[in-house]
């Protein structure tokens, strides 16, 4: 059991390492072969070719905070969908597919009430 479990995660680790090596080798090779003539204008920050106004470390609108809050709640909900998704087939084969489907619909439905509340309160409106 434990061997299989750790074996599964060795696969994950190999893929992580492969991704890291791919990016690392790309950056190192690019750094070796590209010309390097830094100048003041080149190292300026730009966005879409427009010169920056103000400081990068500026205060942002409080509206983003509510979006992050909503994201957090729905992220916690999403976490619970994973164990459900892994068991749907088992339950469906045991003739309880309707039961497990309805359970998840109820779970998501209750939280959708919160989304309805947010929309009714105008939280998601961009003014």
């Amino acid at each position: 059991m434990l061997e299989q479990y750790l074996g599964d995660y060795i696969t994950v680790a190999v893929f992580l390492a492969a991704g890291g090596i791919l990016v690392g080798v790309g950056l190192i090779v690019a750094g070796l072969i590209r010309p390097n003539n830094p100048s003041k204008v080149k190292s300026e920050i730009y966005e879409c070719g427009i010169e920056p106004i103000g400081d990068g470390w500026s205060q942002t609108h409080i509206r983003y905070y509510i979006f992050a809050l909503l994201f957090l709640i729905f992220d916690v909900e999403a976490v619970f969908i994973f164990p459900w998704a892994l068991k749907v087939e088992t339950f469906a084969n045991a003739g309880m597919g309707g039961y497990i489907l309805i359970e998840m619909f109820v779970f998501i439905g209750i939280l959708l009430l919160g989304l309805v509340y947010a929309i009714r309160k105008g939280v998601l409106k961009w003014e």
Binding site: Q59, H61, L69, T90, L111
Partner: protein, 187 residues
């Protein structure tokens, strides 16, 4: 008897090496969280510390908890922290003066040391040398699904209500309702 394992035995297992690397990285990141002069860097060092704790949960065979830490804490709570930092007027740039006076620092060090001793003592007292059951027979995410939908369906639905309450509470706290006059202007 605690600590019946010798150092040689301990170093003989690959998992212990992985744990040692993770623990060193986590302790370093945790120290940097409280010592860095830049609040945004503190949040990013917290990502390393949380990632390390997720990896330790994986080593312990608690797969679902590990990925929950990654998704919820690293994915959402840190984003919330960063937005929380960004909406405040607190100075965000480098070399800001965040440090508290010495007596506050000593108090915080004492409090965290006491918490460490309390949790560590409780763990040793309760489990001692016993291995964590899941580290021998790991709890896969599908096992969690099995027990949720076989035995804990009602608590599972209650979680949804708890989240709903958290969502509405969050909106109520974070958002200021427009006054009656403003409401009329809007309509």
């Amino acid at each position: 008897m605690f600590f019946a394992v010798t150092v040689g035995d301990w170093l003989g297992e690959v998992e212990n090496w992985v744990f040692a690397v993770l623990a060193i990285a986590m302790v370093y990141a945790a120290i940097r969280v409280v010592t860095t002069k830049n609040v945004v860097h503190a949040a990013l060092f917290l990502v390393i510390a949380l990632g390390g704790s997720a990896a330790i949960f994986l080593l312990l065979g608690a797969e679902f908890v590990a990925w929950t830490v990654v998704m919820v804490y690293i994915g959402a709570v840190i984003v919330l922290f960063l937005f929380g930092i960004m909406i405040t007027r607190a100075p965000l740039g480098y070399e800001t003066k965040l440090s508290h006076p010495r007596r506050v620092r000593i108090g915080a060090a004492l409090a965290s040391g006491a918490l460490f001793l309390l949790i560590g003592g409780a763990m040793l007292d309760a489990f001692g040398d016993d291995p964590v059951p899941a580290a021998i027979d790991p709890t896969r995410t599908s096992d969690i699904g099995q027990s949720i939908f076989e035995r804990f369906v009602i608590p599972f639905e209650v979680v949804s209500f708890v989240l709903l309450a958290a969502l509405i509470g969050g909106i109520v706290i974070a958002r200021q309702d427009p006054t009656v006059e403003e409401e009329e202007v809007l309509q």
